[in-house]
């Protein structure tokens, strides 16, 4: 054999094809790129009316994590559920499984372009917020970055889990709603957890996306103690492990017949 494939070469080949497909899918591009870019700014007037200063925050420190949250929820999670579902229904996943690609490589290779898009988008939104909303430089950038990375992995894994219960690309708009709405309202994306009653907030901290937003916001504001940061990281890792387990257990590689 002249050339033997490696996990990296196979991932690269698959990701390149998926990147081409992403560029050709207008619906995915609108949902994944435009929505998360537009949403944070439509939230601005709402946030201006909130008493964010009372909770020790600023408009910028509310909108910046919100922007990251939107990028993760719509740009990565929502888009990826539709992509996984469509590849399964088109029998692409089944065909890929007949070759040398391992299952995990198929899922990761398919997710790579959208993950990269989500990452870029988050960085653009962060840069825009910094300039437009006078957000100061982050106090603990490593925590914010870690939060973002954990968020990407977690959202990709949860997308695969959601795809398992999604029959068609159209129904992805419905099956993604629970996680999107719960995260927006109770994980600190649209409403900062700092503004919720304490006992309620401490329960909400255990939701999947909460630690991600906490790490981004806290990393920026420098308000997280080492104990709080570790707790958030632990929660995010726990959800990721759980999601990966669920994918192994329940992911569907071909349509129901």
């Amino acid at each position: 054999m002249s050339t033997v494939t490696t996990p990296a070469s196979r991932l690269g080949a698959l990701a390149r094809a998926e990147f081409t497909l992403l560029g050709r899918s207008k619906a995915t591009l609108v949902a994944a790129v435009l929505v998360p870019l537009a949403l944070p700014f439509s939230l601005r007037s709402v946030v201006d009316d909130m008493d964010v200063e009372e909770a020790g925050l600023s408009v910028g420190l509310v909108l910046l994590p919100a922007a990251v949250g939107f990028a993760l929820l719509f740009g990565v999670y929502g888009a990826l559920v539709a992509i996984y579902t469509s590849r399964r229904e088109e029998l692409v996943l089944k065909r890929l499984r007949t070759g040398e690609l391992r299952d995990v490589e198929i899922l990761c290779g398919t997710a790579l372009p959208i993950g990269a898009t989500g990452l870029t988008q988050s960085l653009v939104l962060v840069a825009a917020s910094t300039v437009l909303l006078d957000v100061p430089a982050p106090h603990a950038p490593h925590l914010a970055a870690l939060g973002l990375l954990l968020g990407l992995v977690l959202c990709a894994a949860l997308a695969a889990v959601t795809a398992a219960v999604t029959r068609t690309v159209e129904s992805a708009q419905v099956t993604t709603l629970p996680f999107v709405i719960i995260s927006m309202v109770l994980s600190g994306v649209a409403v900062p957890l700092e503004m919720l009653p304490d006992t309620f907030a401490s329960v909400c901290e255990l939701l999947p996306l909460s630690p991600v937003i906490t790490l981004v916001r806290g990393g920026w504001a420098g308000t997280l103690s080492a104990y709080e940061a570790l707790g958030a990281i632990g929660t995010a890792v726990a959800w990721t492990v759980l999601a990966v387990f669920a994918v192994q257990r329940w992911f569907r590689w071909e349509p129901r017949r």
């Binding site: 070469s9 080949a13 040398e100 391992r102």
Partner: protein
């Protein structure tokens, strides 16, 4: 490592596949395929062909039984088997928005020792369609793209699930020619088909699957030889079956009467036909719609299907 040189390339023992809902698609089948052999799984829709091939391809674990492909379990030892096999599913799964060329290059990046994509596209006659999106290909062109990708890695073992379904007569002949060329170069081919002609023409050996079991297996000639020849004709007006010479003496092994049409089965076609024609000559009657045919794979196939249905 290379213990498979003189052994069977594919070995299946007591294979069963039960689906989640309890449906038993494959009910204990065994067969073996040697290196460089073309083996056909023949059967009607729902006979268990695809269910079987998917297990051989390693897409799912069997409910029971043992499979060895090139000496390995294709499901649990996926990494050892996949670089040496090529697969064409019954229905190709390619993103509709990619072009032929993009699809082939993507696949080539995932295949060890891949040939240049254009080379295999040429082989299946798609070289001039490289810039076309998959969604714009005809059904036949999609089958050929699928075949091209299965050939990308110069596989030792090729699994083809209904490779010519949806192809026109010319496309089918081209595919047969390609399979023969591959076989001559030592590739082992396992294919499924519901075209008898295809199995008869291409296969060195075949197995007829019916309701999840192997109903007959061997070379096409062996399977055919196990079947009786058939004679059918219309009884002349005013005659009854009892007026014919004793059927046993004519070598008839079985008969049916449908209205005034008589159908005879025989393993001694010449003796039966002669006896019957001599009788007609002497009686001075004409046997209308006389049809005399030696056993064919089609007869074998239909015979098996009918017999099993009665048994069930």
């Amino acid at each position: 490592m290379n213990t498979d040189e003189h052994e069977h390339v594919i070995e299946v023992t007591g294979l069963r596949r039960v689906y989640g809902g309890g449906f038993e698609a494959v009910r204990g089948i065994s067969f073996a395929v040697d290196r460089g052999e073309v083996f056909a799984l023949l059967g009607t829709n729902g006979a268990g062909k695809t269910s079987t091939v998917e297990l051989l391809e390693g897409l799912a674990p069997p409910s029971d039984g043992r499979i060895r492909v090139l000496g390995h379990d294709p499901y649990t030892e996926r990494a050892a088997v996949r670089p040496r096999t090529g697969v064409m599913l019954q229905e190709g799964g390619f993103p509709s928005e990619l072009t032929v060329d993009e699809t082939a290059r993507m696949w080539a990046g995932c295949v060890s020792g891949a040939r240049p994509p254009l080379e295999v596209l040429e082989l299946v006659g798609l070289a001039r369609r490289t810039g076309v999106r998959v969604k714009q290909l005809s059904g036949g062109e999609r089958r050929r793209l699928d075949l091209a990708l299965a050939l990308l890695g110069d596989p030792e073992v090729l699994f083809l699930d209904e490779p010519t379904t949806g192809l026109d007569a010319e496309g089918r002949r081209d595919t047969w020619e390609l399979v023969r060329t591959l076989r001559d170069r030592g590739t082992t081919v396992l294919l499924t088909t519901h075209y008898l002609e295809e199995a008869e023409d291409l296969a060195d050996r075949l197995a007829i699957l019916h309701e999840g079991r192997i109903a007959a297996t061997g070379t096409p000639a062996e399977v055919t030889a196990a079947q009786p020849a058939r004679i059918s004709f219309e009884l002349p007006e005013g005659y009854f079956v009892g007026d014919l010479p004793p059927l046993g003496e004519l070598g008839v092994s079985g008969h049916e009467i449908d209205g005034n049409v008589v159908r005879l089965r025989t393993r001694e076609l010449q003796r039966t036909a002669t006896g019957l024609l001599v009788w007609a000559e002497r009686a001075g009657v004409e046997l209308r719609r006389l049809d005399v045919r030696s056993a064919s794979l089609e007869e074998a196939f239909l015979g098996i299907a009918a017999r099993e249905e009665v048994a069930v």
